[in-house]
Amino acid sequence: MQSLTNRSKQVVKQELTFAEKIYLPAILNGMKITLRHFFKKKATISYPEVKRDFAPVYRGQHVLKRDENGAERCTACGLCALSCPAEAITMVAAERNKGEEKLYREEKYASTYEINMLRCIFCGLCEEACPKEAIFLTDRIVATSLNRSEMIYGKDKLVEGVNERIDISDRQTSEVIEFKRIRIFSITNCNCWN
């Protein structure tokens, strides 16, 4: 039969030579390789004591930003959930009451906002879709868990603390803002009326 690749070899069954029979050269050869690796630079690092450098736009755990006054930016418009290819995002909207203006920026806010981190593929489309600059992916790694329910991150884990702001200025440069503004109107022939 013709082989699919040129890497296959015909099996040859023949008597071992004396040197092969005592196995010692083969063992020593193997030990030599092992010993050589003791003096090589390690390929691994001992995370979490040592951390590797991340790209500035690494896509890790999400953050729901607050504005400069500490009010939540998210208005539960649902565009992140709509754009999410893994359907990982769910939210429930609520109306802001009088007196909550410092908590929520817009008259509507997300009363619950959940991202299923087991579903999320960290593609960053939610960040791209967000019209309010509310959701961003950060360079934080999502911690693993032995429990499925713990992997559904609610607002308690997603919204940044008022005093512990998460810096996203690396990913929100002026070019990014300009790109987001122009891209919205780049599709001209949408034929919405028919």
Partner: protein, 331 residues
């Protein structure tokens, strides 16, 4: 009968038909958009000017072109009339200007607005609008008003299309709201916080092309594209009972009239059906609502429909391109 040609497509229509309706009979992308015209409301149309078209030939007897773009919803056809809509760059520029005027005072709160996703102004702005506004003055703002326990009025979003006024005049027995004041300061109002509680007042929500009149029972419950629209009916003593239910699982999020592809409701529904019957057991479900496949509401909704294009491998041209030559296809 009159023969009218719109963007090179001819049709014979009865005398007295408007250009807009003639275009709708032809169908396709040559249909002018309409924000204020509503087929089932008499005397509607003529306010918003989005449906303007260019008449390049008045009629067979008088072939002079009309001097200015005309509102197609109010202009009737003449025999031999020739009309340009999307084929005229001048007209598209004029319409973009109309859209810019409509958007002058309209707030940019689509992420909040319940109408987003089924808003005609959103579609229109997306197709014709500019990314920037040239308006330097502050937009007019209003307080939100509850007109009755079921309808919320966001006057800020209103484009003064008068549709809701026509509904109150023609569908309900007593109109208690209207357009107050004139010109730049005109607004929809009930004058002294009057309550709109007529049995058919909920239809004002359906006819509103923007999010100025919204359903308070649906307020902020869900974005329209997350709900699953199905056609349903019930035996209603007051109305036809033919509605669209917006479901999420078994829960009825809201009830609206059945809209056709121009966003118009033919069978008005009563407030009982719209606001009170919010259980699936109240309704007999006919099947998925017939929505445009390209609408955001159709996202992630899969229904079987007639394929518009032949299946790939039955198409001679496609197969020829795939295998690279007619000979191979024939042999």
């Amino acid at each position: 009968m009159a023969k009218v040609t719109i963007d090179g497509k001819s049709i014979e229509v009865p005398d007295g038909t408007t250009i807009l309706n003639a275009a709708r009979l032809i169908g396709g992308e040559i249909v002018p958009p309409a924000m204020c015209y509503y087929t089932s409301l008499k005397t509607s149309g003529g306010y918003c000017r989005t449906c303007i078209v260019k008449v390049t030939k008045g009629s067979e007897k008088d072939p002079r072109p009309m001097p200015k773009p005309v509102a197609s919803c109010r202009t009737t056809v003449m025999d031999g009339m020739e009309v340009q809509n999307i084929t005229s760059p001048d007209l598209m520029e004029a319409r973009a200007g109309v859209v810019e005027f409509l958007l002058i005072n309209h707030p940019l709160d689509c992420p909040i607005c319940d109408q987003a996703g089924e808003c005609h102004l959103q579609d229109l702005a997306y197709e014709h609008g500019l990314a920037k506004t040239r308006y330097e003055f502050s937009r007019r703002t209003f307080e939100k008003i509850d007109i009755g326990s079921k309808i919320k009025l966001h006057m800020t979003r209103c484009i003064l299309c008068y549709r809701c006024v026509k509904v109150a005049d023609q569908i309900t027995d007593k109109r208690v709201h209207g357009v107050m004041n004139r010109g730049d300061v005109s607004e929809i109002s009930t004058y002294i916080q009057n309550v709109v509680d007529n049995d058919f007042s909920g239809n004002m929500i359906d006819v509103c092309p923007v999010g100025a009149l919204t359903d308070r029972t649906f307020r902020f419950k869900s974005r329209v594209w997350f709900a699953n629209p199905v056609d349903a009916h019930r035996d209603c003593p007051k109305c036809a009972g033919k509605v669209t239910l917006w479901l999420k699982g078994e829960e009825v999020y809201r009830v609206t009239g059945r809209k056709d592809k121009y966003g118009e409701v033919k069978d008005w529904i009563c407030n009982d059906c719209r606001f009170e019957k919010k259980a699936t057991s109240d309704w007999k479900i006919d099947g998925p609502a017939n929505l445009d496949r390209h609408s955001v509401i159709s996202q992630n909704h899969y229904t079987l429909e007639e394929p518009a294009h032949k299946p790939l491998l039955n198409d001679v041209n496609v197969v020829q391109n795939l295998v690279g030559g007619k000979e191979m296809y024939n042999s």
